[in-house]
């Protein structure tokens, strides 16, 4: 080929244009399809919640909804256990030690905020579910499931607020509740919400409304003890009424609950009552399963049961060996319905029996109360060895004693002490009787309301409880 000085022909130039067309057109075509192509789930497990199934799955999350639901502060402040001096010295968790010693200030940093954040975390989930359910259109065939999930959400939210109210707000007083501090009532999953505390009246009304709704919506049965039934909602409402001393309603709902499930495990039939955890998890007595917030100070491996409590169990009381083990001088608790060292915080039929008996007695039906109590005790005492039940005042005392013995380490004792102080005029002074604890906790003390964790106060500027 010689040096080529030649004219460009039109063909070549046309080729350039064809090229230009392609480079303009291809991106345009790509961006046309792009929107659909990019509208693809990045992760199969990842979903933007929209269906009843999505909301069902959120509430079926037992590590959120059924774990650490009951604040530990109440149990830590109660009088059923103690810490040996050696363990007290080695214990490094300040808020737990302050709570054990009934100090005015409990929290020193963010530690311990799970008492607040775990129930509010559940409230966030329920709000997310309720908002989604309310905004969606339900098909006829989904309606049953829709109602169930909605009922769960109302129940879970009521449960969380109920537990929070026992710890961070004062005992309910119908006359003064309108002027008393309640909880921040969050009803939307909105991260921009301005947080402020409602009155105690509003708080209790809110819980009540959720429970009413739950009872209407919930079915009688469930696939798992971690998901509530109508019976569980009645039990929680009975508990709610008992707690505000409305014994008639408490009785009504306890009976309602028992009408759906009145099963009691006969402790005489337990295979190996001295085993580490003789009672299985999710057993038939359980109406709703959840746990008390893990706090190392009340972990069975660290704390010991007071002799005061242990001695209340008679030798013919099967709970003595089912719940406790004595090694050397130390009494270790092993009676949790979680079948592990985690403390059980849910609802059981036995609590309903005891609520029913108490209400019956308080409503002057002592024979009914006696029958109810006896029916319950038969499952707890060695066969035909129930210590004879007294009458009158002493019967109430016995009912409350059995209540304490049954519901040990379930986060209930604290509420009961507050309740007895408020409505029964009990003057009991809580006292650790240990050299290294200076404080005592007399009835009516402002320290029966726990302080709100510091990070909550700092981030929201809500009013702190005065102790």
């Amino acid at each position: 080929m010689n040096i080529k000085f030649f004219k460009h022909n039109n063909m070549i130039m046309n080729r350039n244009y064809r090229f230009l067309v392609t480079i303009v057109v291809i991106p345009v075509l790509i961006s046309g399809c792009a929107r659909q192509w990019l509208d693809f789930k990045p992760d199969k497990q990842l979903v933007v919640p929209a269906t009843v199934q999505d909301y069902k799955a959120l509430l079926s999350n037992s590590s959120v909804m059924n774990t650490n639901s009951v604040p530990a502060l109440g149990e830590i402040g109660s009088d059923d256990y103690y810490l040996t001096e050696e363990r007290w010295n080695a214990h490094a968790i300040v808020w737990e030690k302050n709570a054990y010693g009934w100090e005015r200030e409990v929290f020193v940093n963010d530690d311990g905020d799970a008492n607040w954040s775990r129930p509010y975390g559940q409230i966030y989930y329920t709000n997310l579910v309720l908002k989604g359910l309310n905004e969606m259109r339900v098909s006829e065939q989904d309606l049953v499931e829709y109602n169930t999930v909605k009922g769960w959400a109302h129940f879970f939210r009521a449960f969380a607020y109920y537990q929070l109210a026992q710890i961070f707000a004062d005992t309910y007083d119908p006359d003064q509740a309108q002027g008393m501090l309640g909880l921040p009532l969050i009803a939307e999953p909105d991260l921009e919400t301005v947080v402020k505390r409602a009155t105690l009246e509003e708080t209790y009304k809110f819980i009540h409304a959720d429970l009413e709704e739950a009872i209407t919506l919930l079915p009688h049965t469930t696939v798992s003890k971690t998901l509530p039934t109508k019976g569980a909602a009645c039990a929680l409402l009975a508990k709610y009424y008992l707690n505000i001393a409305d014994y008639e309603n408490a009785l009504k709902y306890a009976e309602n609950s028992l009408s759906m499930n009145a099963y009691l495990i006969d402790y005489n039939s337990l295979d190996n009552i001295t085993a580490n955890y003789p009672i299985i998890k999710y057993n038939d007595e359980v109406l709703f399963h959840t746990t008390v917030l893990y706090a190392s100070i009340i972990a069975p491996t660290r704390m010991n049961i007071t002799a005061d409590l242990y001695n209340l169990y008679e030798e013919n009381d099967l709970r003595k060996s089912a719940f406790f083990r004595q090694t050397n001088d130390l009494i270790v608790y092993k009676g949790s319905y979680t079948q592990s060292s985690t403390n059980f915080g849910g609802l059981t039929t036995s609590e309903m029996y005891l609520t029913k008996a108490e209400c019956e007695y308080r409503l002057r039906n002592s024979s009914g109360a006696k029958n109810t109590l006896e029916a319950y005790l038969r499952s707890r005492y060695k066969s035909n060895q129930i210590t004879e039940l007294p009458d009158d005042e002493e019967l109430l005392e016995r009912i409350l004693l059995e209540r304490r013995k049954e519901l040990v380490m379930r986060g209930i004792r604290w509420n009961d002490i507050r309740r007895y102080n408020k409505y029964d005029g009990s003057q009991r002074v809580l006292d650790r009787k240990q050299d290294f604890i200076e404080n005592k906790l007399p009835a009516g003390d402002s320290r029966f309301v726990w302080p709100i964790p510091l990070n909550v106060i700092n981030l929201s500027n809500i009013e702190q409880n005065i102790r």
Partner: protein, 1064 residues
């Protein structure tokens, strides 16, 4: 709608007037004395002064409208040549250029989208070529880059000397520009982002590595370029290159890991004395009575037996004396570790003729790892071919196949968690295998064995023999590229890459292994019923990743415009990456006949020993399936005027399926501009002492991607462990205000060479401003409480970093002696300029060497510690300084602290670092060494932790020998005395204090290499020896610690390699 638009475009274009100029065409090739084509020869056409350049094969094709009088051929390493019109009148022009003696190697920078000579770039690039990569025998390409590029920092704080295949090294290209998003640079292999395992890349196949550091260099990678980009290019053949075969092999030997470096050592005698002291004070009582039956040390068990009256004082002493005779470290070193041996073989062939070129290579590497019974193998096959299908159409196909096999059957010292100084792996007397406590106390285990349970003892040496784990990784990369030359200046390229990365892990847990025996025993019911069969377990796991990437790009090159040259490209890219993983566990597995026991009860809870209840550990492994999709458009252009002025522009727009629609809409295009002025090419320039002088500057934006955020409320599904039901967790709470992280980088550089290229240098100053950084904002838990992995990540901080990179190269070239020396220096400092994520409540969370805790006004790597107030004279207890004076109220003190009360020790990452490399060549010998240095940072030493020594078997430390023992010791030691009771936070105020902080500054001799070349002309043989990890020459700390690895159990061992390269 788009069709309509398309038709419009076509109509407009069809109606456009045709250019119909009278063009002149000139074609040929420029070659050197060896007949090899010379790339990037500048061709100036006179009288028009139009410019052209030769391509990779030295060929050129120019078309000009103007008359040609003469043509000048220039190249920096060759004597220029000028041809007049008559000389051009030849069939197929061949121009020979004669090489200058003092050459400067023409460096090409490759971004993955285009490749240009460095002298024509405005951006900041560091190129590491083949010969530099060959300095190191390391199997991982990234590891070989250390100390070879300024601004590229290797952060080894996580190296623990436990996993020899994974270095746990994190990279920083010019510091760090993000807080909680991915902070690792993007790695690009042969033009596409690399999705595989970097260990699959064989360094011997690599031609060069380019590090893109500033905006002009990296912004073409857009939203992924925020942390810098490392571009890896594999070897290719060349047109008209004679077939070349090369073979190389080397053998690397690394010494047995030296456990004497481990700071957590204590002598058996000291430890037993300590345990006795504490035992007498009842400090083990709660462990002894714990119903969870935790492991007790052999000595504590003996003390317990003595206390219970099972053995008398004499026997106790006798048995303790026997224990004192053992040294676990000696055993571990002897039975668990071995010298590491690596052998590498590589063969390759390359060549080409007029219409095709090729490169084919095969490699085999085998490693016996430093942990006994661990082995590693890798096979790589790589083929790169290019065919010229027609005058204008070429097809390039790269194929890479890599297979890796790793068998981690050994156990390292940290795998034996509950060892004590007097534990042993093999009894010296009767040679029985030693038992190490695991899970439960041996007293408890013994009592259970008496009840008929299986032998429950854990014998590490037996486990090593039983382990049967293999992980196989295979990777396939196919990358065809079709390139069409539409006109001399216009080229269109379509590229596609398919990549498959598959990993299969198979583990057979032997029926006699501890794991099986433990599981069987734990699940044996009180009536003796076994829930888990006493048989093997087979575990399979197979994650797989498949990606498709397609790119279409058109390049316009060397367009004459206003007397200068314009190069430009536009392109679009589409990418999809799928990841799937699955796995399964078979119980009751029999490896001989492949039977399993499928019908176990995974549903119900069983009581387990010693306490609690559990299900049989699940059969399934987590199933995952994820898809990333990206669409990007980009353009890049540079205009070069007379080799004096260059202006560049780059822009890119990305969209993906990851973050939600509204987030994408807010994605603004990322762009950069740059300019360069080569002063020495000006006509007025006549500073002969500085033959080359260039200034360049760039400014631009790049981004960073965080896959974990979304503008939507999202939930993720899984199975609830407790109930087995389908459950969902909230992953992101939804956030309409999310924005991409953006990094603005400005860069100014000066390049020069002095005195006939005796000294060449490059100084670069840069500033990076990162805004809208994502991170977890601390929320009021009333509104949103942080669940696992569901923190509210939002744009919460801004930071800046600035720094300097300096490279100086000097050399002498004589006929028999060559010397080249290169100094690199990098400086980088950052500051958090804005932070609104909230403050953490607990002050000790700010103290730590590995943290990135943003505090406004501070470096993100700031190293905080508790102030140290010394030891109490009477007791040797640590003191703390409170308002009222010195005290021992540790807990109260810790809770009263604010950030302002903490001591600050600069940063935990060096702010100055670099290297000095020297090469000497004398006749056929060549010798080289590399020193590296790091200055301006601190590191944390481990310390003794008495509380954890009592509660578990960790916390021991060599410092025990220097502890406070008598009044007066506090004057020369900071190590607290042995406490007589557990005191909360007594250790914390010491371990987190400035007493344990040392300066990290040091200088290190990295490697020394020696080689000898044989042969003449065609056949070349080179033999070499390399020594690596040679140790520290100078350090500022007086503890004998290597500041890069203060907490490692052992240091990377000295490695010696010998080998040869043969080329024909």
């Amino acid at each position: 709608m788009y069709t309509k638009y398309l038709i419009n475009v076509l109509l407009v274009l069809a109606g456009a007037p045709h250019l119909n100029a009278q063009d002149i065409r000139l074609e040929g090739r420029v070659i050197n004395e060896h007949g090899e084509g010379i790339q990037n020869v500048k061709i100036t056409v006179y009288p028009s002064a139009n410019l052209f350049y030769t391509d990779g094969s030295g060929s050129f094709l120019m078309i000009t409208e103007n008359e040609i009088d003469s043509v000048r051929f220039e190249h920096i390493n060759y004597f220029p040549k000028r041809l007049n019109q008559r000389e051009l009148d030849i069939d197929q022009l061949i121009i020979n250029l004669r090489e200058k003696q003092q050459t400067i190697e023409e460096v090409y920078v490759t971004t993955g989208y285009y490749s240009i000579p460095k002298e024509r770039s405005t951006g900041s690039f560091s190129v590491i070529d083949k010969s530099l990569l060959e300095r190191s025998p390391k199997l991982n390409i990234i590891d070989r880059l250390e100390n070879l590029a300024p601004g590229l920092q290797f952060d080894k704080r996580n190296w623990r000397g436990t996993s020899p295949t994974m270095d746990n090294t994190s990279l920083r290209v010019r510091g760090v520009n993000t807080i909680s998003s991915d902070d690792q640079p993007l790695i690009v292999v042969d033009n596409f982002p690399y999705e595989g395992d970097i260990n699959s890349i064989n360094p011997q196949d690599i031609e060069s590595v380019t590090v893109l550091k500033d905006a002009a260099a990296a912004s073409i990678w857009g939203a992924k370029a925020g942390n810098g980009v490392i571009v890896i290019t594999t070897k290719k053949g060349q047109y008209n290159q004679k077939n070349k075969i090369s073979f190389s092999s080397n053998l690397d030997l690394a010494a047995r890991p030296d456990l004497r470096y481990d700071q957590n050592y204590m002598s058996a005698e000291d430890y037993i004395a300590l345990e006795r002291y504490w035992y007498d004070r009842g400090l083990y009582a709660s462990r002894e009575s714990n119903i969870g039956m935790p492991v007790l040390s052999p000595a504590v068990e003996l003390l317990g037996r003595h206390k219970r009256g099972e053995i008398d004082g004499h026997e106790l002493q006798e048995k303790l004396d026997i224990l004192k005779g053992y040294d676990f470290y000696q055993d571990a070193s002897r039975y668990l570790y071995q010298p590491e041996v690596t052998s590498q073989y590589a063969i390759s062939t390359q060549g080409g003729n007029d219409f095709m070129n090729y490169m084919f290579s095969a490699n085999y590497n085998k490693k016996r790892e430093s942990i006994v019974k661990n082995s590693y193998e890798r096979i790589n096959i790589q083929s790169n071919t290019t065919f010229r299908l027609s005058d204008n159409l070429t097809l390039t196909t790269n194929v890479g196949i890599a297979q890796q096999r790793h068998s981690p059957n050994g156990i390292d010292i940290s795998g034996i968690s509950n060892y004590f100084p007097y534990s042993y792996l093999r009894n010296t007397e009767d040679h029985t295998m030693g038992i190490i406590g695991r899970d439960y106390s041996s007293v408890y285990k013994g009592s259970q064995e008496n009840e008929g349970l299986l032998d429950w003892a854990y014998r590490p040496l037996e486990e090593i023999e039983l382990n049967n784990r293999t992980s196989r990784t295979s990777e396939y990369r196919i990358n065809p590229t079709l390139s069409y030359r539409i006109s001399p200046w216009l080229n269109m390229t379509a590229m596609y890459q398919y990549m498959q990365h598959k990993n299969t892990t198979r583990e057979v847990v032997d029926r006699d292994s501890y794991e099986v025996r433990n599981l069987v025993n734990r699940f044996t019911q009180t009536d003796g019923k076994r829930i888990v069969p006493h048989a093997g377990i087979l575990r399979l796991e197979y994650p797989e990743r498949i990606s498709h990437q397609f790119r279409i790009q058109s390049n316009a090159s060397d367009i004459n415009l206003w007397g200068g040259l314009l190069n430009a490209l536009v392109g679009a890219e589409i990418r999809e990456a799928n990841q799937e993983s699955a796995g399964f566990t078979y119980f009751g597995y029999d490896d001989d006949v492949l039977t399993t026991q499928p019908n176990l009860d995974f549903e119900n809870f069983y009581n387990v020993r010693p306490l609690g209840s559990s299900r049989i550990p699940s059969m399934g492994r987590g199933l995952r399936s994820s898809t990333d999709r990206f669409i990007s458009y980009y353009l890049n252009g540079a205009y070069d005027y007379q080799n004096r002025y260059t202006v560049s522009l780059s822009s890119r727009w990305d969209a993906s399926n990851l973050f939600g629609v509204s987030f994408n809409k807010k994605g603004v295009p990322l762009w950069s501009v740059g300019t360069a002025w080569t002063i020495s090419n000006e006509n007025f320039y006549n500073a002969h002492l500085i033959p080359f002088l260039k200034i360049r500057g760039t400014l631009g934006y790049s981004g960073n991607i965080d896959k974990s955020v979304s503008s939507w409320t999202t939930i993720s599904y899984s199975n609830d462990f407790e109930t087995g039901l389908q459950k969902a967790d909230v992953r992101t709470p939804g956030n309409d205000n999310l924005r991409w992280e953006r990094i603005r980088t400005s860069n100014i550089a000066l390049e020069f060479s002095l005195v006939n290229n005796f000294l060449r240098g490059e100084i670069e100053w840069y500033k990076k401003v990162s805004s809208d950084l994502l991170g977890p904002r601390i929320m009021d838990p009333t509104i949103y409480s942080v669940q696992r992995g569901a923190a509210f990540k939002t744009n919460y901080a801004d930071m800046t970093s600035n720094g300097l990179d300096l490279t100086l190269t000097s050399g002498l070239r004589r006929s028999k002696f060559n010397w080249e020396s290169q100094v690199m220096f990098s400086y980088n400092r950052n500051e958090v300029t804005n932070y609104n994520g909230g403050e953490l409540g607990s002050i000790t969370t700010y103290t730590g060497a590995l943290l990135k805790r943003p505090i406004e006004g501070y470096n993100i790597d700031t190293f905080f510690s508790l102030p140290w107030a010394g030891l109490e004279r009477e007791t040797g207890d640590p003191l703390v300084r409170e308002e009222e004076g010195l005290s021992k109220e540790y807990t109260r003190y810790l809770n009263s602290l604010d950030i302002e009360d903490l001591d600050m020790h600069g940063t935990a990452v060096p702010i100055m670092f670099g290297s000095w490399r020297n090469n000497f060549v004398w006749k056929k010998w060549s010798f080289s060494f590399l020193l590296s240095y790091k200055f301006g940072y601190s590191f944390w030493r481990d310390g003794i932790s008495y509380n954890t020594m009592i509660s578990s078997s960790t916390g021991m430390h060599r410092d025990f020998a220097n502890r406070w023992q008598d009044a007066g010791d506090e004057l020369h030691t900071d190590v607290p005395s042995v406490p007589s009771a557990l005191v909360a936070n007594r250790d914390v105020v010491y371990l987190r204090s400035s007493a344990l902080i040392s300066r990290g500054d040091h200088i290190r001799l990295n490697d020394v290499t020696l080689s000898y070349s044989f042969g003449r002309n065609q056949a070349k043989l080179q033999a070499f020896a390399i020594a690596q990890n040679l140790g520290i020459l100078w350090r500022r700390n007086s503890h004998g610690l290597d500041p890069d690895y203060p907490s490692a159990r052992y240091l990377p061992a000295k490695t010696f390699s010998i080998g040869f390269r043969f080329e024909y």
